[in-house]
C-alpha cells in the first residue's frame, strides 16, 4: 500500500474491458412514461444500452427480507422500471469502450417522468397520505417492541423525568474509495469471475447465484485491496448484479467504478432515526425506567441483507446499556421514504440511541446537582450484579464499566475541568464535557444476531495447513479493508504453533478459499481468532500425537514453542516443527498406527453466546459564540476488548472511529429538500472531518478476556461510533447548558447552534 503497488478495484488491468456509466433518477418519486435510448445506442464507441425493461426478465431485483412476523419485504430493481423511488436510483446503463464515452452517451438518453407525491420525511411516511413504495402498506416495513414493561408508575413517582425528541439526520459511511466491481464471463467453461470492493465476498457469491439463477460453483468473487468499507461495502448492491449480467451478455470484462456523486446519491445511507426518549430518575439519581419510541427513515427499499432493521430495531436491543434500568418500554418503527436505502455503517443503529440516552442522563445530573460521573456511578452495573440481565435479555457476565468510568474521570481531571469551564465562561467561551459508557455486542455471530432479533445465521470457517517444511499457510474468507486483519490473523496462527510471525502466510481475498459471512460488525478479529484457533488446534492434535509417538511419551506431555515440538518444560527434548512436519509428510515409518497424516484442518466457529466488549468515551468541546462552530478540544477513550492481539491496530480502530464520530456529530449531513432531492452531492457540501477537526486522542486499555473466543479476544471495530458520538453531543449540550440552551437535532452545525442560542435567548427574555 505504501509503495503505491497495492491494487484496488480501479487499478486492476483487464484486456478488452468495457466501461459502465449509469443514468440515475433526478426525481425522488416518479412514473417513467418513456425512455428513448436510440441516440445513446448509436453513439460511436457505445456497445450496449440497457433500461429496466431489458434487465427485468434476467433478474427481478434484490429481494431483502427478515423472517419476523409482520415484516414487509421489498424488491429493489437492478434498473428501475415503471417507477423511480429515490433520487439516484439507477434507470439506465451505457456500456462503452471508454469511461468518457459512456458518460457522454448518458446525456443522450431521453427519459420522460410523471412526478408522483414524494414521501420525504419520517412524519410524512407516518401520515401515509402517499406511499413511498406501493409494496409497503402504510409505509411501514416493520414495527416492533423489545420490552413492554409497565413504566407509568415509575414515571409518576419519579423525582425528575428527562425527556427529549432526538433527531439524528442522514449520513454516509463515505469510504475514501467509492464502490466498484468488475465481472468477466468465460463462455468456454461457464465461469463468472467477479472482482468487487466488498466486505462480504462469500455472501455476495451466494446472492449472485440466487438472484441471477447462476450456478454458484462457477462463480468466484475476488476481493482486491479495499479502500475502506465501514459497513457501506457490507451489502449486495444492485450494480454488482448489473455488471455481472452485462458481462454474461457481452462476453467481455465489464467494469463499474462509481464516482463520489454516485456514492453519495446511491450507496446506502445511514443513521437516520428519531428517538422520543424519556428516563425516570429518583431523588438520589437512580434510574427507574426508560421509555423510547424510535423511528427509522429507511429509504425506498430494504438493503440486502440488513434491511431497515439495522437502525432503530437493532438500536433498541442495547438501549439501556450498562445501566441498571429495571423497566423499559420501547417501540421501533421502520418506515419507507423516497430516499436512498438505509444500510449498515459502523455502530449501526446503536449510535443514535446512545446519543439520546447519554444527553438525558447528563440533563438529570445537572437537575439533581450530581456530577456526570456520579450519576453514572450510581447506576452502572458492577461486578456484584453479574450475571445481570438487561430488560432486553442481554446477560452481562463481565465488563469493566465502573473502572472505565473511574479511568475517564481521572483522564479528564474532572474538578479542574469544571474550574476551567467556569473561567472560560467568564471570558465568553462555552466549554462542555460529555461522556458515554457502553457495551458492544461484538464479534457478531448467529447468537448475537438472534439477540438483536435479526434472524440470520452466520457461517465462518478457516483452513490451517502446516507445510512440509513446518511453515504455516492459513486460508480465510475474511477480507480486510484497512483493519489490519491479515496481521492480526497471522499473529493468531503464529501464537498457536509457537512459530515466528514470518513463518505464517495468510491467503485471503477469493471465494475459492473457505466460506465466511464477511468482515462486518466487529467480527474480523473474533472470527479470525475463532476459526484459525480451532483449525490450528485440530492440526496440533495430530502434531502432538506424532511427536508423542516419536518421543515415546504421552500426548499430553508434548507442547509447541519456539518453533519446536518438545516435552513440556524441556525445550531441548524434542525436535524442530519442520522435522516433525517432514516426518508426517514423507516418513510413513515414523507414524503411529492409524495415523491420518493430513496436517491440514478446516474448522468453523460461531461464538456460543454474545461476545460483549465494553468501554467509554469522554469529549471536551468548545463552542465559539461568534461563529457558532464547535471544536473538539480533547477526546478520551477507554476500551476493554478482552485480550488485544495487536494494541496498535486496536488504537487505530479507536482513532478512526472517533474521527467518524466527530464527522457524524458536527459536520456530516446528507441534506434532502422537501421533494426528496439530495442537495449534498459532493465532498464540498458533505463535509468529512480533516486533520484540523480531529484532535489527538488519549486512550487507556482494560483487559477482560472473553472465555467464548479462543485467545480471549473480543471485537471492537465499531465501539467508537457507538459511543463517541454521544460523548461529543453530550459535551455540546453541556456547553449550551451554561446559557440555558440545548440541542436535540443533529449534526451540531453552526446554524443549529445559532438557533439553539437564539431559542435560549428568547426564552430568557420573557419573564416567567
Amino acid at each position: 500500500m505504501l509503495s503505491g503497488r497495492a491494487a484496488y478495484i480501479a487499478d486492476l488491468p483487464f484486456q478488452d474491458v468495457l466501461y459502465v456509466a449509469i443514468l440515475r433518477s433526478p426525481y425522488a418519486h416518479a412514473k417513467i412514461t418513456g425512455i428513448d435510448v436510440t441516440a445513446a445506442a448509436g453513439h460511436a464507441g457505445v456497445v450496449k444500452v440497457w433500461t429496466g425493461a431489458d434487465v427485468l426478465p434476467k433478474c427481478a431485483g434484490l429481494m431483502a427480507r427478515m423472517d419476523l412476523p409482520g415484516f414487509v419485504p421489498t424488491i429493489q430493481p437492478i434498473l428501475a422500471h415503471d417507477i423511480v423511488r429515490f433520487v439516484g436510483e439507477a434507470v439506465a446503463v451505457v456500456v462503452a469502450n471508454s469511461q468518457a464515452v459512456a458518460e457522454d452517451a448518458l446525456e443522450l438518453i431521453d427519459v420522460d417522468y410523471d412526478e408522483l407525491p414524494v414521501v420525504a420525511s419520517i412524519e410524512s411516511a407516518m401520515a401515509a397520505e402517499a406511499l413511498a413504495n406501493e409494496a409497503v402498506p402504510a409505509n411501514l416495513v416493520y414495527q416492533g417492541h423489545r420490552c413492554q414493561d409497565d413504566v407509568d408508575g415509575d414515571f409518576a413517582s419519579a423525582a425528575y423525568v428527562a425527556s427529549g425528541r432526538f433527531i439524528n439526520n442522514r449520513v454516509s459511511a463515505s469510504p475514501l474509495e467509492p464502490r466498484g466491481c468488475v465481472a468477466r464471463y468465460e463462455w468456454t467453461n461457464g465461469q463468472l469471475t467477479v472482482w468487487s470492493a466488498t466486505q462480504m465476498p462469500s455472501f455476495l457469491k451466494t446472492m449472485l447465484a440466487i438472484h441471477l439463477a447462476f450456478p454458484e460453483q462457477r462463480i468466484e468473487v475476488i476481493t482486491p485491496q479495499v479502500g475502506g468499507g465501514f459497513g457501506q461495502k457490507a451489502h449486495v448492491h444492485p450494480e454488482e448484479a448489473l455488471v455481472c449480467l452485462l458481462a454474461i451478455e457481452l462476453g467481455r470484462p465489464v467494469r463499474w467504478i462509481e464516482d463520489r456523486r454516485e456514492n453519495l446519491l446511491s450507496a446506502t445511507h445511514a443513521k437516520h432515526q428519531i428517538n422520543d426518549m424519556a428516563i425516570a430518575v429518583d431523588g438520589n439519581g437512580r434510574f427507574l425506567a426508560m421509555r423510547n419510541r424510535s423511528s427509522t427513515d429507511g429509504g425506498a427499499y430494504n438493503c440486502l441483507p440488513w434491511t431497515h432493521l439495522v437502525e432503530s430495531h437493532v438500536g433498541a436491543s442495547t438501549l439501556t446499556g450498562p445501566y441498571r434500568i429495571a423497566h423499559f418500554n420501547d417501540e421501533s418503527l421502520s418506515l419507507v421514504t423516497n430516499k436512498c436505502p438505509i444500510g449498515a455503517y459502523r455502530g449501526v443503529g446503536w449510535s443514535a440511541g446512545h446519543i439520546a440516552r447519554e444527553i438525558l442522563i447528563d440533563r438529570a445530573a445537572r437537575r439533581l446537582g450530581l456530577s456526570p460521573f456520579e450519576i453514572r456511578r450510581r447506576n452502572l452495573v458492577d461486578q456484584n450484579d453479574y450475571p445481570f440481565t438487561t430488560p432486553t435479555g442481554l446477560v452481562i457476565r463481565e465488563g469493566t464499566f465502573v473502572q472505565t468510568l473511574d479511568r475517564l474521570e481521572q483522564m479528564v481531571s474532572y474538578p479542574s475541568f469544571r474550574e476551567r469551564q467556569a473561567s472560560a465562561l467568564a471570558s465568553g467561551k462555552l466549554l462542555g464535557l460529555g461522556l458515554c459508557i457502553f457495551n458492544e455486542v461484538s464479534g457478531v455471530g448467529t447468537r448475537a444476531l438472534s439477540f438483536l432479533h435479526i434472524p440470520v445465521t452466520t457461517h465462518d470457517t478457516a483452513t490451517v495447513r502446516v507445510e512440509p517444511t513446518g511453515k504455516i499457510t492459513v486460508t480465510t474468507p475474511l477480507v480486510a479493508a484497512g483493519q489490519g486483519h491479515l496481521t492480526t490473523f497471522a499473529q493468531v496462527a503464529a501464537d498457536a504453533f509457537g512459530v515466528p510471525l514470518d513463518d505464517v502466510t495468510i491467503l485471503a481475498g477469493t471465494t475459492r478459499n473457505t466460506h465466511g459471512f464477511g468482515t462486518v460488525a466487529s467480527r474480523g478479529a473474533v472470527f479470525g481468532a475463532g476459526t484459525i484457533g480451532r483449525a490450528a488446534e485440530a492440526v496440533k492434535v495430530k502434531i502432538r500425537r506424532l511427536a508423542a509417538h516419536l518421543l515415546q511419551t504421552g500426548v499430553d506431555q508434548v507442547t509447541l514453542s519456539e518453533g519446536r515440538v518438545h516435552l513440556i518444560g524441556h525445550p531441548d527434548k524434542g525436535m524442530p516443527l519442520a522435522d516433525l512436519a517432514g516426518a508426517a509428510y514423507f516418513a510413513d515409518a515414523t507414524h503411529p498406527p492409524d495415523f491420518d497424516p493430513a496436517l491440514e484442518a478446516t474448522a468453523a466457529f460461531d461464538p456460543a453466546d454474545v461476545v460483549l466488549a465494553n468501554g467509554g468515551h469522554a469529549a471536551i468541546v468548545e463552542i465559539d459564540i461568534e461563529t457558532c462552530m464547535v471544536r473538539v478540544e480533547e477526546m478520551f477513550a477507554v476500551e476493554d476488548c478482552g485480550r488485544m492481539i495487536n494494541p496498535m491496530i486496536v488504537e487505530g480502530q479507536i482513532r478512526g472511529g472517533v474521527a467518524q464520530a466527530i464527522g457524524m456529530t458536527l459536520l456530516e449531513e446528507l441534506v434532502h429538500d422537501g421533494e426528496g432531492q439530495l442537495v449534498t452531492t459532493t465532498l464540498m457540501d458533505y463535509l468529512l472531518p480533516t486533520s484540523i477537526d480531529v484532535p489527538d486522542i488519549k486512550i487507556a486499555h482494560l483487559e477482560t478476556p472473553s472465555d467464548l473466543v479462543p485467545g480471549g479476544v473480543k471485537g471492537m471495530g465499531e465501539s467508537a461510533m457507538i459511543s463517541a458520538p454521544a460523548a461529543i453531543l453530550g459535551a455540546v449540550n453541556d456547553a449550551l447548558a451554561l446559557v440555558d440552551a440545548s440541542l436535540e437535532d443533529f449534526p451540531a452545525s453552526p446554524q443549529r447552534i445559532f438557533d439553539a442560542l437564539e431559542r435560549a435567548a428568547a426564552k430568557n427574555a420573557i419573564p416567567v
Binding site: G4, R655, S691
Partner: protein, 166 residues
C-alpha cells in the same frame, strides 16, 4: 468519440525519467497518469479536488492531479508514489508511516506521503501543528490523522541518509 475531440502529445519528466504520451485534450492528469502511464498509485476519491487522494508533486509542489489537465503538465517534473520506494526498500517517510501505523485502508496514503514529503523538503523539522496544517487538505477516513502526524514528525525520517534519494 474521444478521438474526434482532439488529441495532444504531452512530454514531461516522471519520477526522473522523460516520458511522452498522447491523450484526448480533455483528459485530466490523474486519468492520464493512471490509464496511459500505468501509475495507479495515485487514487481518485472525488475528482473535484477535495479529497487529496490524487496528490502528486508537480515541480516540487503538491498538486491535485484530478484538477489539472494532462496537457498542462507538458514540460513539468512530476513525482508520484511509485518514484519513492526503490530496490525493495521503502523510502524513510514510507517506513515511518508503516512504523507508526499511519495508514489503514491505504487509499489516501500516496497523497498523504507526497504532501508530507513536500512539507519535509521545505520544513525539515515540522511541529505537530505544521504537519496537521500541511495534511489538512488530504482526507483520511480510517486513521483519525494522529498516527499520520506521528509518522511525519518522527525525526528518524529526516536523519535517514536515504531521505534525499526519494
Amino acid at each position: 468519440m474521444d478521438e474526434d475531440i482532439g488529441q495532444s502529445v504531452v512530454q514531461l519528466t516522471i519520477n526522473g525519467e522523460s516520458a511522452a504520451f498522447t491523450v484526448p485534450i480533455r483528459t485530466s492528469l490523474s486519468d492520464a497518469l493512471r490509464d496511459k502511464v500505468g501509475l495507479t498509485g495515485l487514487k481518485q476519491g472525488c475528482e473535484i479536488g477535495v479529497c487529496g487522494s490524487c496528490t502528486i508533486l508537480v515541480d516540487d509542489k503538491p498538486v491535485r492531479s484530478c484538477l489539472m489537465l494532462a496537457v498542462q503538465a507538458s514540460g513539468c517534473r512530476i513525482e508520484t508514489i511509485e518514484g519513492l520506494a526503490g530496490n525493495g526498500k521503502l523510502h524513510p517517510l514510507q517506513a515511518s508511516f508503516q512504523r507508526h501505523h499511519g495508514l489503514q485502508c491505504g487509499f489516501c496514503t500516496s497523497g498523504m506521503v507526497l504532501t508530507a514529503l513536500a512539507l519535509l523538503r521545505e520544513t525539515p523539522e515540522p511541529t505537530r501543528e505544521q504537519a496537521r496544517e500541511a495534511i489538512s487538505g488530504n482526507l483520511c477516513r480510517c486513521t483519525g490523522y494522529e498516527t499520520i502526524i506521528d509518522a511525519i514528525v518522527d525525526p528518524d525520517v529526516m536523519s535517514d541518509p536515504e531521505f534525499a534519494n526519494g
